[in-house]
Point group: C2
Amino acid sequence: MRIALHQTAGHPGDVAANLAEADAAAAGASAAGARLLILPEMFLTGYDIGPEIHALAEPLDGPSHSAMAATARRHGIAILYGHGERAGGATYNAARMVDAEGRPLLDYRKTHLYGAGERALYRPGDALAPVVEVESLRVGVLICYDVEFPEAVRALALAGADLVAVPTALPVPTPAVPTVLIPARAYENQIFVAYANRCGRERTLEFEGLSTVAAPDGTVLARAGAGPELLLAEIGPAAYAGSRAANPYLADRRPELYGR
Amino acid sequence: MRIALHQTAGHPGDVAANLAEADAAAAGASAAGARLLILPEMFLTGYDIGPEIHALAEPLDGPSHSAMAATARRHGIAILYGHGERAGGATYNAARMVDAEGRPLLDYRKTHLYGAGERALYRPGDALAPVVEVESLRVGVLICYDVEFPEAVRALALAGADLVAVPTALPVPTPAVPTVLIPARAYENQIFVAYANRCGRERTLEFEGLSTVAAPDGTVLARAGAGPELLLAEIGPAAYAGSRAANPYLADRRPELYGR
């Protein structure tokens, strides 16, 4: 199954412009044969917009989610996108995945917040999301810093994920995350990992780009540069049966030895 | 603190020759200013010697361990070395670390055996080893396949390791382990990882070489080629305080979310 990652600077603070950009990206990804489009962290509002996020964040039945569902239906493609979720008086750094008919498949709230800046704005999520099926593929979702924790990816792999899809907003200079950690997460779980980053500048941050798709054997299937890019990759688990047989990590774990 | 990794083909089945080689390596490492020498997996006997290991494996009070202690004392250097341990009617794939006066610091039995071949020969260990002090450094030990499990390295990092030292016997073609996983283990725990491999051929296997020392920021401090080599690296945790502050993985874990 082909997937597409939309690496972009987006339009910080301009939800309407981001919805329009998502529609164009979905059209392009669908035309390129992709069945799943992954947008970056906090795509709907921008990531680095400070406390303005509390006004722009929407509940899950808000109008931007209806618009994204319509985009998915219009172009016949599943979409995973980052957004600010407003619920219970708090704001979450969240992600939603909808199927090609616009139906919600998964909602997730980032569980590992990074640094004092995120902790000041967001309430952390209190659970990993279940693995869900997107056509033939079992997909798990994490957001940005989450994927840097091997435990989080392991939990999704043990839950059956073939692909862990990660909207992110990774600033410079941290190339070790896409170049070292993402291929390692793929290899050590014998799964695919797709890491869709922002690029360019927002208000105070410059983003790394380098969106990456890594395969179960640790190879990099696709990597973006520093600028805007629609990155395509083929996710074909059957081609990696040999790698999985030679590296049966999930079966060979000894959790009784690891403590917490 | 400087460390040395002795990448070698060794002398499969010839313990006396391996003891002599260890003494020469310790002399060279000590002369180069190293305070810890790491030898590969099953160094004393060779790795790929089949059931002959049961006759060559020794109890921990056996003559080869006395000889290694004398080597450490003679050259004033701590040594970590792989060996076959005979105990309770079983053979273990083990490692011992002695200090610069030859006193045992740590004994460990490989907990993650790789494949049917190792399982036919060895009984797995039933615990990770404690982190021990080697001069100013807190050192944890794993063996080969163990380090491919992020849980095992995490447990040692949480126990306070600055350096995880790994005797290994990695055959071709698996370069993803030294090039992808070892730097990731270092970065995701903000520690040093030293991976000391065999090279050349034994009876049925050709080894990868590529012994690697990775730093807390995911950079490779030293990497061997395909042939015999004494690899040196400086292990200086204080130089990576900035990386640790920017990546507080141990503090930011959420073990309540990960299940087993």
